[in-house]
Amino acid sequence: MTKKRERLAVSRPKKGASGKTGGWRTFRPVIDPEQCNKCGLCSLYCPEGVISEDLEIDLDFCKGCGICAEECPKKAIRMEREER
């Protein structure tokens, strides 16, 4: 079977289309479940949408921007230096 002729440049949706953007963080967010009140604001504001409803952070794609930490009303998120 031959590949379908690609007449023009068309991109298809794909998770990780821009690579594992999480790879180049300088800092990573770490949620302290003790302090967290599950308000969900971190998830609301995360530009990348990588904080799930149950507050799992997808570190493959988290860019380490720190918005979640800044916006957490309980200061429950710490930005930790990535050790590489």
Binding site: A9, V10, S11, R12, P13, K14, K15, G16, A17, S18, G19, T21, R25, L44, Y45, C46, P47, E48, G49, V50, E53, D58, D60, F61, K63, G64, C65, G66, I67, A69, E70, E71, M79
Partner: protein, 292 residues
Amino acid sequence: MAPIPKEEHILATTSACPGCSSSLSLRYILKASGPDTVLVIPASCTSVIQGMYPHTAVQVPVYNIAFAAAASCASGMSAALRRAGRGTRVIVYAGDGGTVDIGLQALSGALERETDFLYICFDNEAYGNTGMQRSGSTPLGALTTTTPAGKVHPKKEIDRIVEAHHPPYQATAVSAFPVDLYRKVEKALTFRGPSFIHLLGPCPTGWRFPHGKTIEVGRMAVKTGAWILWERVHGVLAVSAPSKGPLKNPVPLQDYLGMQGRFRGIPPSLVERLQGEIDLRRAEVLREAGEA
């Protein structure tokens, strides 16, 4: 009000800078419009942040088009879809340069001929994609790569220009209030004909603030009244909730300017002038909203 859908139409993730408010905004815009949407994108940061061939992070059709042509391209697309009996939403998502400068004429034409679409101007107040040159939408005094001593002309008032075309729905928004943005997109799409949302988009790269501060900077724009959230339905203006307080008791503009590297070194006289203009605008809005 129905809750905001959980479904994301942006796949993790765009190639935007960390902390980019455009990345955030797109999430809520597409949540509001749903999958039966086409995004028309002129040259801008969004041309790039969607991802490079052969993959994209955006899960609705994205029609990339030349810089000056977004609104007119959308005009044709909307006409075609309607004639084909389809209700697909056509949303232009353009930068400020693509709206107030090189795309203004096409926008004006599309508004005049009552194109059935939603036009969102993502306003990061400069040409972001090419590295932060001044645009007509750059505020007075801001440093950009082409205004190394600060911009000498005031920000072009695109909202007034659009208003002169009397679209049925018009609003302002800012990424720091994503729920407000979501509701406005949702509402805009209930109108037949053109609607326009002017979305302030704090840009850590261009405005020179730490990328964790994107929300705070946007919130401060609202708190100071530098950015007023409102909507105008068939000409009638209503102030949106987050701006109600600040309109009466704004914090000083300097609190907003001081957060951003692009206003470093701005002379106090200019800050005063900007503050004066904001005070005027606030008064105008209050008067028009019947709250003065």
